[in-house]
């Protein structure tokens, strides 16, 4: 176990910065974090900047061609690149716009000035640079982030669950929301959040991305059996999973 503290830098692309905020929040319960690592860049919380880092934590989606250059620079410097949150991991809610024509939405939001704005469809960071690990979620889970940092300190990449949310939901004995006439993506979504949405009475929205081998066909049937028409199934699955479903449909 190395005695020198790893140097960590945070980078943000398109996102709400809720994940960086969650990192700050994790200090509330884990102040030791500050001594365990050396944070050399964290624009949301500090003015100091230093480009000498080993671990890059990237928040936010790729949304415009110029992001690629920045990403490449990060990849060149960092030994380990880890994405933070659903935007970086999946394209996040940003990818909802991928369903629309870019020109149309630019015009809808910026009117006649639309041309000034550089935009592309929202994509996961791993589409552009090699990513060593991801910390999923919208936002990330505080405790999972802390565990991930500990894994890194131990010289290993974070171990993110690849079983579905249902497992955690049952373990904590939450009544399945399907029993209350609601619908849920828990069976195909990667756990690690403690099934927080079902436990607060709302079906999982899939923010942590798909598990490795989801049975999509079967889940679609479950959703329709529980009253979702095709349009609503699509709306549900495209909140966070646009990019992953596009890929898995292509493979299918």
């Amino acid at each position: 176990m190395s005695s020198t503290k790893p140097k960590i830098a945070f980078f943000d692309f398109a996102g709400c910065e809720g994940c960086q905020l969650t990192v700050l929040d994790s200090l509330q319960t884990h102040t030791e974090l500050l001594n365990a690592v050396e944070i050399v860049q964290f624009r949301e919380a500090m003015s100091e900047r230093n480009d000498d880092y080993q671990i890059a934590l990237v928040e936010g989606s790729y949304t415009r061609p110029s992001d690629e250059v920045r990403l490449q620079a990060i990849r060149d410097q960092a030994q380990i690149v880890i994405t933070l949150g659903a935007c970086a991991h999946l394209g996040g809610v940003n990818a909802v716009r991928n369903a629309h024509r870019l020109e149309e939405i630019k015009r809808y939001v910026y009117g006649e000035k639309a041309e000034v704005y550089e935009a592309a469809s929202a994509r996961p960071i791993s589409d552009f640079i090699q990513v060593d690990a991801f910390i999923p979620g919208c936002p990330i889970d505080r405790e999972e982030f802390v565990r991930a940092v500990k894994s890194l300190l131990q010289g290993n990449l974070p171990d993110i669950p690849d079983y579905p949310v249902c497992v955690e939901c049952k373990l904590r004995e939450t009544g399945c929301v399907f029993l209350y006439g609601k619908t849920c993506l828990g069976p195909i979504t990667r756990a690690g959040c403690g099934a927080i949405c079902p436990s607060f009475g709302v079906g999982c929205e899939g923010c942590r991305g798909l598990i490795p081998n989801p049975n999509m066909a079967s889940l679609r049937e479950v959703l329709s059996e529980n009253g979702l028409d095709e349009m609503r199934v699509k709306a549900k699955m495209s909140l966070f999973l646009t990019n992953q479903i596009a890929t898995s449909d292509m493979e299918a």
């Binding site: 176990m1 894994s151 131990q154 010289g155 290993n156 171990d159």
Partner: protein
């Protein structure tokens, strides 16, 4: 039958590892290191060849590792040959002599070597499969007069990936050991056989009724090696394998190593082909 679990039986919890120091670490290849673990007097291991221990790095985890030294040579220490494959094995590779590791075991059923006495023995390890078989090989060599021919067919990816090269040299020098080596990808210096392990079988003649074969290697290897051995006419009961499974407890509780109704950690990891042939999940 489990024999001699002295170490584990002493602990108040079956999951509690005994902390032991690393005497020596030898780098074998880029991926594998051999760890010599000290047994403080009067702790004894009393394992059988083919048994394994659960090795811990506290805070990282635990994994089953075969005991690579033979009982005949493991009095005050024993050896583990570990490939870097994940969290625990990475952490092991980062340790230094003098550091401690947690050990539980030995667990499982080893090879019933008393039953092999008087027979010819054909060892067919592939890659890391030599780690558990080395225990049997050295046990047999230390009791050489009680066995017939000893044939070792060893295959590795590349010459630099061959494990225990010093010992391979030694075995090669011995008159009473027939050693055949092969690699998938030769380098410039390699003069031996090239090809997968099954290509070595054509070089040897055995008397099938009096031969016991012991094989261990990656999952894909078994089917081909078995085909050769059965083709040579070896009875199913004379073919022995060591199987790998995910294991979390080592004592038949956690369920991970189950194949059909068998638990590899208890009923194995050494099995005769006759025992597992009917199990779809075995190979």
């Amino acid at each position: 039958m489990n024999t001699g679990r002295q170490m584990t039986l002493e602990a108040p919890s079956i999951y509690q590892p005994i902390m032991l120091s690393i005497l020596e670490i030898t780098s074998m290849t880029e991926m594998e290191k051999v760890f010599t673990i000290e047994l403080p007097f009067p702790t004894s291991l009393e394992h059988r060849p083919g048994q394994f221990v659960q090795v811990s790095v506290l805070g990282v985890g635990e994994a089953p590792i075969s005991i690579s030294s033979s009982p005949s040579r493991s009095k005050s220490s024993f050896e583990l040959c570990v490939r870097r494959a994940g969290a625990l094995t990475n952490a092991l590779h980062a340790l230094n002599p003098g550091d401690v590791v947690g050990v539980r075991g030995p667990f499982g059923r080893g090879f019933p070597i008393e039953r092999f006495r008087g027979k010819d023995i054909l060892f067919a390890p592939g890659g890391l499969g030599l780690a558990p078989l080395r225990s049997v090989i050295n046990e047999v060599l230390d009791d050489r007069s009680n066995y017939g021919r000893i044939i070792i067919l060893y295959g590795a990816g590349q010459p630099v990936e061959m494990l225990f090269q010093d010992e391979l040299q030694e075995w090669a020098m011995r008159e009473d050991v027939e050693l055949h080596l092969t690699v998938d990808k030769p380098d410039k210096k390699w003069k031996g056989n090239v090809g997968v392990i099954t290509t070595l079988f054509s070089d040897i003649q055995v008397s099938p009724r009096n031969t016991v074969a012991i094989t261990c290697g990656p999952p894909v290897m078994y089917r081909f090696v078995l085909m050769e051995l059965l083709g040579m006419g070896l009875p199913e009961g004379n073919i022995w394998l060591s199987l790998e499974r995910r294991m979390k407890c080592g004592v038949g509780k956690c369920g991970h190593c189950q194949m059909d109704h068998m638990y590899v950690c208890q009923d194995g990891p050494a099995f005769s082909y006759a025992e597992i042939r009917h199990l779809e999940e075995a190979l």
